[in-house]
Symmetry: D3
């Protein structure tokens, strides 16, 4: 199974924020953005695996700045790393200025998908090949995040999370 | 500002999974569930704070088992802990068996909301008082999760995450 | 077939009123509320019968006070009485005050559902056992409402509607 | 204020039943039909009153036969009678045969609307002038239904419901 | 196969413009109107052919005047001409004045549909019989529009478009 | 006002076809695609003009091949030419093969938008600078299409449509 570059998995979607997507302050609901991110991230994971993919988990989505009604919002998703049947996908969210057209990053999210066969069972996916610096950094971090998930789910002992422990020890040096 | 019990913040919603909520395998889209969870969690945070609340982050949502088309799905949200202007909310998702009526837990998610005033600025919220064992356990874990978020966001040094470090040290004993 | 208490059939859902749910006065559309009530009432009827249920009729829904955009609305549905294959369901609608959190009843509706088998044919359901005073009062009234429906549909002679006639005669005494 | 004929208040809408409108048997949800009926009935009431109208109550909607996915459904609404600020509206629902094109009546519903001014207060509407036999019959029945609603709401004594009582006495003669 | 009059193919739908249907100026989105027109035009083509119909092309939709939020919009579709398996359908869009009730034409669109069998293959449809002056004028123009479409699609030489050329030559006389 | 290249106006969106987007043959509704194209085309026109834009007309959309449920559909919109306050936008639609990932063009559409100020009045837009061969070809054709629209709307005499007439004369040589 030949590896695929991160670039090949890029999926883009642009949305306009409609009234029904907003809260009483007139800003985009977090839940609506979560749903949009899930769809475009699943397209990215599909482009990597060429399989039906299902959401396995969501991690570390943060909502720093409100996104207003009528904003033009662009979501870009790319697989950051593949593990046997699962894929970690980063989604970067940008809002563009109505006058200058400059786009500003407003959110970043990390989703994990599993590729499944017709019966819903997990199935192997190709390796992910990072190329740019950002892709490589995210690729590296993916293992640490995976260990963290396993610990939090009670499926790994903290003492076995070698990558994650470095985070604490290295800094202690 | 008087504290509020977790029980007072309970918010419940029951949904039926419609065709548009499902993927090609006929199961509920992760993104749709994320949006449903966000809405009911925001109601819980509102019941705690009596303020407009906005989603600040999502952590650790996992999707273990597929939820089928036409399933009756119940989401229960409760604030697990409050910090100055933010609230951590747990959402438990249950699916009920069509024949026996037995409900089975299918998902668990943790969202964080911030209470804001009319200008969108953060505003103080009451303390959360846990009562049951589960509420207390979640209350305890909230601080650890908060430290983890701060580290991952680069806003805290791992060496200062006293609660989180215990996770590794205790087990090493 | 063992009877089921009204309490066992309770179904709850909480909604936030979005812009698309409102009319030009900024209040919840009656039609949207009718659709929400139908869904949660069908969940209640399903919990009673453990069968696919279809709406048979709607009676006496009144809309006293407008419900504003962004309101948090809670619907509670309970079976009030069962007749061979049909179930009468009451839906109580509450709106909560944004500041005090006090909830106020804003609507009451009565729906009737029929339990059906795979071919859509009617199928027997368990008896409903009322426990509280309100449940008993609604249970009593159900027969009168059923007779009224039959008369209005031309399927019963007014002279045979013994329960309903009491309404007129008792008061004449 | 000049009266308006029932014909002038006719409002028509044709829909195609989509997957999201259907239950697990593949038939149109009652709740969806209730919402559609409310919208078209409100257009009819608006055409009569030329005012913003709000749903006041729903009475006697029955669902005799299932309506399948992909059906072409036509709703026709007409005001049946006007009382100071309220209007009773009948909605007739038809489904057309895909091969012969013959349309068959599948539902009938009665809604009541109130015309309101900018502050939501009730405002006078023109008289309704029935012309056809059916329009006249529905016009006659409207008073009886109004009395019935008032009794059920505890706002009229059964002994004062002169029109309604005839239903029982006439038949007893 | 007996012909069908244009009148027999008339399909009507009335909509209220909701917040989600509007742009930042508070007017109906063009795209939403295009979708509504497609649905009602397909009903008209179905009434003509009694077959599943699929959109083949859209031509010459113009949007002259904005349609405001909360407007009552009526769409009327009628087949203007049939060619072997395809049908040209005109959709006229009207907005009604909230006070006078006068309706004003706001848009006109021309869609083409193809009738298909269960495998999606084209299938013959009846002839269309125009009766009124407008129906006849649209019937005449349909051939010219068909030739124009074929030329633009590179499927016909301009020199063979006899009907279309008249447009230029006649005026040159 | 400095011109803008076609490339700068590129807007992309990727969608998954859901059950509610499909007809009884399980294929994407034409009307849904028309709405999607309108939104992404308006984003492109906005990126060119940095103004609120409203749909002015739709021309020549053709639907050659059905797009199935669950397809991943990508729409790419680019301004092809600007005229004082209006912009012609091309939308190319691609469907990707689930196994090979190869994307195949399935539709092409031409929309026209007008840039408007806060009162809805037309406002000048920058020139469009085509760069690639395709962009140049579409730029050239835009004037011909504009003349055709003006003739069909009765706003230009065929004899004045110099660009359009070439289509017929050149070939006659």
């Amino acid at each position: 199974m030949k590896g695929r570059t991160a670039k090949e998995t890029l999926a883009i979607t642009t949305k306009i924020v409609l009234p029904n997507d907003t809260n009483t302050l007139g800003n985009l609901f977090g839940g609506q953005l979560l749903a949009w991110m899930d769809v475009i991230a699943s397209v990215s994971a599909h482009r990597h695996s060429k399989r039906v993919v299902v959401t396995a988990s969501v991690n570390h989505v943060s909502f720093q700045q409100p996104i207003n009604h009528a904003s033009i919002v662009t979501l870009e998703a790319k697989v950051s790393r593949a593990f046997s049947s699962s894929m970690e996908v980063f989604v970067d969210v940008f809002v563009e200025d109505h006058v200058t057209g400059k786009r500003q990053k407003s959110n970043e999210a990390i989703y994990t998908f599993v590729a499944v066969d017709q019966n819903g069972g997990p199935i192997q996916v190709p390796e992910l090949i990072p190329e740019t610096d950002e892709e490589k950094m995210r690729y590296e971090g993916a293992l640490r995040r995976k260990q963290l998930s396993l610990i939090l789910a009670g499926k790994m002992k903290p003492s076995d999370a070698t990558e994650l422990k470095k985070l604490f020890f290295e800094e202690n040096d």
